[in-house]
């Protein structure tokens, strides 16, 4: 079906960026994957609306932010306890965890509004106009928020420590 094929292409191309954006917005990797899946599910059920939208990426990230805010309000109530844990081996994640923790701390120092602006603008690679559309603010406001966020990150001690040490 063309409908499903179009959606599959659309979702596959955006999956990674959605997950990473969710991580940078404060989710764990698993939460970020759940959030991205939930966002794409909503996108699929409203696919015609998404297709009609002038800017599909802006529409998609707007859905992601809404889902994230909803999830935070509901404290991830969709998470269900299970008797058996998934049995999967992992590589040593220590170095990665250190970096992730430092980045998370640095991002947490930003205000939520500045954090959303910088993540969408610099990591999800949305334009100023798209970012403004997603956040429902003026492009000028996007610019000032992003500028403040970048200045804050540049002086963040958490990140400075990392850049001084080796990062594998």
């Amino acid at each position: 079906m063309d409908h499903d094929r179009d959606f599959t292409d659309f979702a596959s191309a955006r999956w990674s960026a959605l997950v990473r954006s969710a991580v940078f917005l404060g989710c764990t990797t698993e939460e970020a994957q759940d959030l991205a899946q939930h966002t794409l599910l909503r996108c699929y059920t409203s696919w015609r609306k998404v297709q009609r939208a002038g800017d599909q990426d802006a529409y998609l990230y707007r859905m992601l932010l809404n889902a994230l805010r909803d999830a935070r309000r509901r404290r991830w109530r969709n998470e269900r306890p299970t008797a058996t844990l998934p049995d999967r081996g992992r590589d040593d994640q220590t170095h990665h965890i250190d970096v992730a923790d430092a980045v998370d701390r640095a991002l947490r120092e930003l205000s939520p509004a500045n954090r959303e602006a910088v993540v969408l603008r610099y990591y999800a690679h949305l334009s100023e106009q798209q970012t403004a559309q997603v956040l429902g603010i003026a492009p000028g406001t996007v610019k000032s928020r992003v500028s403040r966020a970048l200045a804050q990150l540049a002086t963040s001690t958490h990140l400075k420590d990392l850049t001084e040490g080796p990062i594998r």
């Binding site: 499903d4 959606f7 599959t8 979702a11 596959s12 999956w15 990674s16 997950v19 990473r20 991580v23 940078f24 990797t29 970020a32 994957q33 899946q37 794409l40 599910l41 699929y44 059920t45 990665h96 970096v99 992730a100 430092a102 980045v103 640095a106 910088v118 610099y122 990591y123 500028s147 970048l150 200045a151 990150l153 540049a154 963040s156 990140l159 990392l162 850049t163 990062i167």
Partner: protein, 278 residues
């Protein structure tokens, strides 16, 4: 001005594990959600259609039962299968009667659904009641004065003919026959008998005098209906000329009341007899 994010963040961004996009699961869940949504819409639509159809049927049934119209074009509020009721007082106009003969005027008023009465005291001998109506001053009270000699009072039959729950109770007692009207609408009360005809109703039995003979019959009332039993009608047999009261009473089908006067009507609600308290 800084226009880039720290390198370490860019590197971490690239290192974040994202896994494979669970497209198949999203498609399956999405299709299930869509099916559920379609079912919900279909159920709601069906329910709405059923409600509309049932509501329409109920309304149609109610309309058939209550909103039929009488032959005179006036809405009547009655259950199915019952006798048509007189129109309401508020919705009936008194038609123009100037230039008509009195009897024709009376008939016209009756055809308009009004109960028309010629005041016998003013009318005098029946012959004068065929005079032409030369002047009329219709008033809101549905009273039409014709010259100085004849007064026609047009009124609507009372919504509750007896003014009480039972016409038996309303009829009970002795009445003077103040008007007796032929099938053509002519007065049958000659001047000599104007005050002599009487009827007494009591618990289903009617007795009275039709001038020089006494009459007796069994009657029955139900709601606004009144029937005088033909088989039970009996009369003395004094040979004399008298108004055909007994014969006209057999045509009575309905009863109504306006003020102190009780009217006995034929099937088409035309007045047959007017009774006033003797």
């Amino acid at each position: 001005m800084i226009d880039k994010t720290p390198d370490v963040m860019q590197r971490l961004w690239q290192e974040i594990p994202t896994g494979q996009a669970p497209i198949a699961k999203i498609l399956a869940d999405g299709q299930r959600l869509r099916r559920r949504r379609r079912r919900a819409v279909a159920t709601a639509t069906t329910a709405a259609v059923v409600l509309v159809v049932v509501g329409g049927l109920a309304t149609a049934q109610y309309s058939v039962g209550t909103d039929s119209t009488d032959g005179n074009g006036l809405a009547a509020d009655r259950p199915n299968g019952t006798t048509p009721e007189p129109p309401s007082q508020d919705s009936t106009e008194v038609p123009a009667v100037v230039g008509l003969k009195v009897n024709r005027a009376v008939r016209l008023l009756e055809e308009s659904g009004l109960v028309a009465m010629v005041d016998q005291a003013a009318c005098g001998p029946a012959a004068r009641c065929v005079d032409e109506v030369t002047a009329a001053s219709p008033e809101p009270g549905r009273r039409v004065d014709i010259g100085s000699a004849v007064t026609i009072t047009a009124s609507v039959p009372s919504a509750d003919p007896g003014g009480v729950s039972s016409n038996d109770v309303a009829l009970k007692g002795t009445w003077r026959v103040s008007a007796l009207v032929s099938e053509n609408g002519d007065s049958l009360l000659a001047g000599a008998y104007a005050d002599q005809l009487q009827l007494t109703f009591d618990a289903g039995r009617m007795t009275g005098t039709s001038g020089c003979n006494d009459i007796s019959a069994v009657y029955a009332t139900e709601g606004r209906d009144l029937r005088v039993n033909r088989e039970s009608m009996s009369s003395t047999a004094v040979g004399c000329e008298e108004p055909p009261l007994a014969a006209r009473l057999l045509d009575v089908r309905h009863i109504s009341r306006s003020g102190d006067t009780v009217y006995l009507h034929a099937e088409d609600w035309m007045i047959v007899v007017a009774l006033t308290r003797g």
